[in-house]
């Protein structure tokens, strides 16, 4: 039994009350009364996220939650990030997909321990999944934990994982107006990475329009433009990670 979340480890049959036999349909109208006070529906996730965040802080580990639509280049950017940073920082990754451990295998080849979460049909990672993935990851041996979320620009916005940085990646092939179409997730972004700049010309990508849309939808975000394939622009992104790792380490003493 897991003490934090109360579930059987890696198995969490939630208790769903069963009704039927003992429930009679004899209704007595007009005597409605109130039952219980306010309750945050994501309280469970937020509580577990706070627990994750506390663990990360205790170990001085910087945690990055990376979201994008499928095929924007999250794994490619992380491969390059790991290849460059692994010799200087202790890096690990958690990857979420509905099926396969292909991405974790790619990140392992790039040089970091990688834990694959296969969500089955779930469209996002939640704090509970991360909490259990941490059974496999020794935080004391880490500086930087990269979490590659399920490819989806909708649902991951609602689930705090306990991260320090929420990063939204989009690619030039997706069109300039993506930030306006998915405003909820972009508003949450600490950083936006515009990837696949090497393909910009081929798809007649209008950079000025895209940048204006990012500024509108993600006013607080740092913006990076990269080609994960060629490495162009990646250095500024890596410096951003290095700065955060250093700051968090110094906080942890």
């Amino acid at each position: 039994m897991c003490e934090t979340c109360g579930c059987a480890v890696n198995h969490h049959p939630h208790e769903h009350p069963h009704h039927g036999d003992d429930h009679d349909h004899h209704h007595d109208h007009g005597t409605a009364e109130s039952a219980g006070g306010p309750h945050a529906l994501l309280a469970m996730n937020d509580r577990l996220a706070a627990g994750n965040r506390r663990h990360f802080r205790e170990h001085g580990v910087t945690v990055v939650n990376i979201v994008s639509s499928p095929g924007s280049g999250k794994t490619a950017l992380l491969e390059r990030t790991i290849r460059t940073l692994a010799p200087e920082l202790r890096v690990a990754a958690i990857v979420g997909d509905l099926a396969t451990d292909n991405d974790a295998a790619r990140l392992r080849s790039a040089g970091a321990p990688a834990h694959q979460i296969t969500t089955g049909s779930a469209c996002h990672l939640d704090a509970h999944m991360i909490h259990h993935a941490l059974d496999d990851i020794r935080l004391g041996d880490l500086d930087l934990l990269l979490i590659e979320n399920v490819g989806n620009l909708v649902c991951p916005a609602a689930f705090d994982l306990g991260e320090d940085l929420f990063v939204v990646l989009l690619s030039t092939t997706e069109g300039e107006d993506k930030p306006l179409k998915y405003p909820v997730i972009f508003l949450k972004a600490d950083a936006v990475v515009l990837n696949k700049t090497d393909l910009a010309a081929a798809v007649e990508f209008k950079r000025d329009i895209a940048m204006a849309n990012i500024e509108t939808a993600a006013p607080k975000a740092k913006v990076f433009t990269t080609s994960a394939r060629t490495g162009d622009g990646v250095e500024a992104w890596l410096d951003y990670l290095r700065r955060h790792v250093k700051a968090k380490r110094s906080l942890a003493g």
Binding site: H16, P17, A32, S34, G36, P38, I185
Partner: protein
């Protein structure tokens, strides 16, 4: 998509409370949902109805109060309502991402009988 999971969480809470109150029927559930909560009311209503079949929540009215997005403007020291999704202060034009309301996803109250 994830509205189903959220509806299940909500269902667990309201059925639990109805049981504690010794009620056989949940008349109404009042929610407050911010425009940034990432929850579609229609999808949530559908999931709640589907999950409530053959339970005390079978005929429950799910009433949703939509909470608008309001941001804080530092230069003006004022809170302003954002038109989705332009986060500029109408007074000074500064962009702000300091969200004050709009992320709520709360069960406010419920009535049972």
């Amino acid at each position: 998509m994830h509205e189903f999971g959220i509806a299940q969480g909500l269902m667990d809470v309201v059925l639990g409370r109805a049981r504690e109150a010794g009620a056989t029927r949940i008349e109404q559930v009042n929610l407050a949902i911010g425009v940034l909560a990432g929850v579609e009311e229609e999808a949530l209503q559908f999931a709640f109805r589907a999950l409530g079949e053959d339970t005390p929540a079978a005929e429950t009215r799910l009433v949703v109060e939509k909470i608008p997005l309001r941001c804080y403007c530092r230069p003006c020291d004022a809170v302003f309502e954002c038109k989705p999704f332009a986060y500029r202060c109408p007074t000074c034009g500064a962009a702000s991402a300091e969200v004050r309301t709009g992320k709520e996803l709360n069960l406010v109250s419920m009535e049972v009988s």
